[in-house]
Symmetry: C2
Subunit: 232 residues, 2 copies
DNA sequence: GTATATTGTTAGATTATTCTAACAAATTTA
DNA sequence: TAAATTTGTTAGAATAATCTAACAATATAC
């Protein structure tokens, strides 16, 4: 009888996997100092944990080379991200939390192993595909749909767009958006764009007008409607 | 400047505190072997952790004597039990789980530190005072109301009682109760009691009749209505 | 293209949590 | 009460996750 006890990843290992996954998505390659920085541990600590994850078959690592997740590691990470995003969505839609306060809670809830718990959340919400920040929720197999939104800074005057996701979900940014009543799903019309500093004036909610800096525009991901003059 | 960093209890320590609290409530004194047995660790392990908890001021321990929680330790434990029971209640009333499946999930959720999360649950449920098994939910200060239910085995023929809580919430027992449609809040009338084996025949839901063994009766906690003939 | 800075590694130590082996104290049984 | 059993303790070791110090490799700057 083969008694193959596949040890579940510890909470610590789960955090490393998630960090590798997120860093790889943001910046492509992941080196030890980025990883250490992200997790607020020393480089020797990150180095040693990467070796542990390699032994477990979750990543590939060669001295002085960037760390790469294996398909196994990617799936493990995606399933943690799934739990995180389902939780965030649940906290917002079913428990009345603001989108700026859910990340911290979800960081803890994502390490719960009872899959029943997350399946019920999923069911109660009608199987959502994105979280409250517009990020896609991986499916049960760890697959992620590619949403391919554009940054608002790519939009041109006259175009209409829908705010669909954020590339920065820090509390500060979310609170900035709250203060301008900018929520996901909001329709924006690009009134003008300032050539000097790339800031954009938009109108939304049938009346509000707002100037958005380039910095802000880069972080707002939008669906751009095909131009009415069919220039494509 | 006094820089008193009071270290939060680890998940492991929390589990020891909870075990000490529960064992003390069930059996009075807690000795090392009971604790070790409850947590499925070796006696030296339990012994060593008890010393750690003592250093943290959560319990009092002298060689070969029973372990006693300090007021600090009792409060810490009660607050974990609070999170556990709030979670169980939430899972049953807001997420549609059966009472026999929530314990396992709550064992994991109780270690989440985000107090916002539990406060929102509490609020959504209207500040319940008991969990789905009839056990009291400690308040935010760790205080527990004393419910003082009686065991059904103390009831006498002719009396009417309401099933209020359980002294055993094992999955097997909960499934037994499910199969008989016995839920908390059910009104039972004691039809007769068999002197030989202390089994009791009850009627409930206006029609159902059921014979309950002494073993079962001892685990059912009830509110006994004052007798109509005011014999007290 | 050398000097400087950054990044990464190894070695060695620490703390938390656990174990087994060996022994000691307390309790139960006969 | 003496023997047997149970309970508890100490000692010593193992693993996970972390650190600092010291050194090595790679990348950047002049």
């Amino acid at each position: 009888m083969i008694n193959q006890i596949v040890q579940m990843a510890s909470t610590t290992e789960e955090n490393y996997l998630k960090a590798l996954f997120n860093l790889a998505n943001e910046r492509g390659e992941v080196n030890i100092s980025e990883l250490a920085n992200q997790l607020e541990v020393s480089m020797p600590t990150a180095n040693s944990m990467v070796k542990t994850l390699q032994k477990a078959g979750s990543c590939i690592y060669e001295k002085y080379k960037p760390v790469v997740l294996t398909p196994k590691g990617k799936k493990e990470a995606a399933l943690i991200v799934r739990k995180h995003r389902l939780t965030e969505m649940f906290l917002v839609t079913k428990m009345g939390f603001g989108w700026e306060e859910v990340h911290e809670i979800a960081e803890q809830v994502e390490h719960i192993h009872a899959s029943k718990f997350f399946e019920r959340m999923d069911e109660m919400m009608g199987y959502p595909t994105v979280d409250p920040h517009g990020s896609p929720i991986p499916d049960k197999q760890g697959r992620i749909q590619d949403l391919q939104f554009k940054s608002l800074s790519e939009a041109k005057p006259g175009q209409e767009v829908i705010l669909a996701a954020l590339s920065d979900s820090s509390t500060e940014f979310l609170e900035y958006l709250n203060s301008r009543k900018l929520t996901l799903g909001t329709e924006l019309k690009i009134i003008s764009k300032e050539a000097f500093d790339q800031s954009i004036v938009v109108s939304f909610l049938d009346s509000e007008k707002e100037t958005l800096s380039q910095k802000v525009c880069e972080k707002l991901l939008v669906k751009i409607f095909e131009s009415k003059d069919s220039s494509q």
